[in-house]
Amino acid sequence: MMTEAYVLDKNRLGDLVEVLKVRGEVIAPTNTGIDILYMPVSSVSEIDLSKIPLDSPKEYVFPITETMMEVEGGEITPVLESWDRVLFGLRPCDVAAFRCMLRFFEDYADEKIPDPYFIEKMKKLTVVAYNCPEPKEHCFCAAMGTGPVAESGFDLALSDLGGYYLVEVGSVKGEEILGGLPLPKASQKDISEKEAVARRCSEKMKPGFAVQGIEDVIEQSIDAVAENHGGRCIVCGGCNFFCPTCTCYNVTDTIEGELVRRERYWDSCMLQGFTWLAGMGPERATLASRMKQRLMHKLSYTKEHYDAYSCTGCGRCSQVCPSYIFMEDMIRDILGGV
């Protein structure tokens, strides 16, 4: 829902941050001197947009560990923590990924039971996207059609145009926020400049493929690709843990005296124990079969179900893989036929 676009002087970014703080806890990429991490910030001086961080902001809407309920003396108390938050500087791949997660949690793949834990957090979330002027080594959002600019799923979106930012409004909330910060309107020249920056960024990305239609050809080469690449997997789960669209979780009940706490925590379909069959050992016993499941899910099943791939080309899985298995290589091999 693109309504208006404005311009913001770079030295006025702090004014925007102040206005956003009114909306809730502001989480932004922060340079800690070691890495850039998504952390709560209280001033613009803590924010660093210069590099795309490996760190995933997923935990702010889908926590690594989350208490769901507590049971004591037969009484069940749901535990649902959420408060107003602003995710500032969300890259387009993550913006698109949040939409993927929302589609899943809204109806749990047709069960039509919305996940209250996730939905509540999304309701209270303000998204300020930041369109990437530069890609990182493993980025391939352009090939997946999810970047390098965000088209939807945000309240505001910033683009770096040199001395100033283009600020696009993506929702009514976004318009309201700017109500507290009057800005000059953007010109057609500014819009064109944004598109030029995006083009240059796309060209720098390596992949050399476009994913459209992969669901029609994937079955031909999936077994070979899963075997070739998946055979090196050392079963760390990192690709799923840090993937911004992955939503699998496991649930455990912990008993502490009289209290039972039910928690859910990040799980991974690449782990051996993800699917056990009684007595027979794991359902997907081989590395190749698990990689096949992962790729089919991301590139075929969800396309069929939601008309959207659940890979947004963020490249994190490629970055965190200790076996140097790269998603973009696997997709290219599938499209190219092996």
């Binding site: 806890e25 989480i27 922060t30 800690t32 001197g33 070691i34 890495d35 850039i36 991490l37 952390m39 709560p40 910030v41 961080p53 490996l54 760190d55 995933s56 935990e59 926590p63 690594i64 560990t65 055979g231 090196r232 050392i234 079963v235 760390c236 789960g237 990192g238 843990f241 840090f242 496991n250 455990t252 912990t254 008993i255 502490e256 005296g257 925590y265 990040w266 799980d267 782990l271 051996q272 124990g273 056990w276 007595g279 027979m280 050992g281 970055q319 965190v320 893989c321 200790p322 076996s323 140097y324």
Partner: protein
Amino acid sequence: MIINGPNVKRVLTTCVYCGTGCNFYFHVIDGKIVGVSPVESHPVSQGKLCIKGWKAHEFVQRSDRLKRPLIRRDGSFVEVDWTEALDYVANKFKEIKEEYGPSALGCLSSAKCTNEENYLMQKFARAVFKTNNVDHCARLCHASTVAGLTASFGSGAMTNSINEMLDSKAILVTGSNTTEQHPIIGGKIMEAKKNGAKLIVVEPRKIHLTSFADAHLRQKSGTDVPWLNSFMHVIFEEGLEDKEFIEKHLEPEPFEAMKKLVTSSRYSPENTEKITSIPAEELRKAAIMFAKNRPGAIVYSMGITQHIQGTDNVKSCANLQMILGNMGVHGGGVDPLRGQQNVQGACDVGALSNVFSGYQRVTDPAARRKMADAWGVGFEEFNDEVGLTVVEMIHAAGEGKVKGLYIMGENPMVSDPDLNHVEEALKKPFLVVQDIFMTPTAELADVVLPAASFAETDGTFTSTQRTVCKIRKAIEPLADSRPDWWIIGQIAERLGYKGCTYTHPSEILDEINRTTPIYGGITWDRIDSEEFPFGIAWPCPDEGHPGTLFLHKGGSFSRGKGKCHVCEYVPPAEEPDEEYPFRMTTGRVNPHWHTRSMTGRSPTLEREAPYAYIEINPEDAKKLGVRSNWMVRVASRRGEIVLRARVSDIVPPGTVFIPWHYQEAPANRLTIAALDPDAKIPDLKVCAVKIEVA
């Protein structure tokens, strides 16, 4: 590095599991550790973690953590406060020392505790108990590495660094299931292979890495000296040795003696095939491949060290690399992979029965004088004889010679060989166990002291590539648990010595800097400075030194010239026979770690491999009438266990494999406590068993 948000904290720390030394961030919300994420700019882990690292937080705040000191009264444990527990422990130790003398006391230090804590434990043993009976579980894993490489090179640690493997032209992996046990390193080896390096795996089992190997030689477990000597036999035969390197950098007489042995017909591939079962042609090809692709690295772990000839196995690896000129070059080297996050450090700071910190010998009067001055102890008070090692100490306890044992962060009731004997032995002395969970060892204790975990204290760990890196306190110690360094100090004070009392671990590292030349410049401030955010590798003699990523540069060995050793084959202490027809070997699985006291309490990790099992080759299974998932009884001359069978051709016929982590079916009930004469490491990799359906 602690980054604060309103209620969200990230704490940068070093992983508690294997020796790769990855870093990660703890995510802490309101005093609860909710998860872990990787560190993008860490030079070794580079934004990656294995499953144990990703879930390293899962065990920390479990409700069955030890919370209060316990004293055994009338057969069961009673909770007491710290003062009562510490007074009781100190008094008992005092009584034993006065009645039986210092040699009746012993300390087991911990490769899972920090450098500061290990330094304190050996200081405690030597200055307070006045004994050299202090050792730790390196004795069970890399004692042969320390002994072997010190003898060959002058320095008993990994000679090169992890990232160099990516530049090696050949990697020989033996006795290491790298992709399961050191996954980050295994990943780099696979990547090196993808980039054109030759990968040779010498290993009885068809481990994951063998799918990528240019050569997989399947030797019988316990026959390593023969194939290593055969490799050298082929290399000399083909004239592929590095003559210039040999002349410039190796002691001539030992080299000639070694060459004479390996070139004898006894060690021809055809003759060693009878011992190792490696086909002669395959061995020849592999040896030539390794020799022709330099620089080459040897990566090894327990399959080399845990043998009756562990030290000789290590020396043979050293011999091989020395004659090929693969030493002191980038991408070469002898790379023992240390399995615990701080077993390197625990050795470095002297938690060993024969050395002080920095490998300064207890038998050397100059070393004793130095420590006497540093510790404020009289020179004549030091024991000048080498003390008992881990297995020896437990046996001595069983024989009534050691009357008091202080065990910190160790679980001999699962980790030591011949567990039935260990159990009997540990019931005899006054036993103090300091740990984070109630392990089978703690269950036998007279006093249990609750310790703080690695998430609850500051300190340093030293990784397998000799890099000293910080751990940082993320939460307060749980309930009434206390850091190990505090506990040791409290007991020492009650025994009249204040030298183990500090207010913060950084003060202990200061002392380590002063007394330990290889750690001289590895100071608390330097190891997380802007210049060295992720620690410094030893040797680092002073504060101007940047640390040393690879040793013996250019062939200039720590001891001067490299020394070759003559290693004759000695068969394992116990081989299969009529009554016990199977060769049993032990090892590990990816999601579990050591005695499973931490990983077994981590939901994700436990779910990966919840059951103890034995791998049996399909041919053997058929003869036994056994199928996968059937319970089988496995017995040796020492004991028996019941566990489920997993029929798989990962093991060759005649060999069976049991992961040793599971206390409910511990492989060590079956293993034999036969020790390598030099390193005193037990022959954990070979013994004879019989199997029947349970």
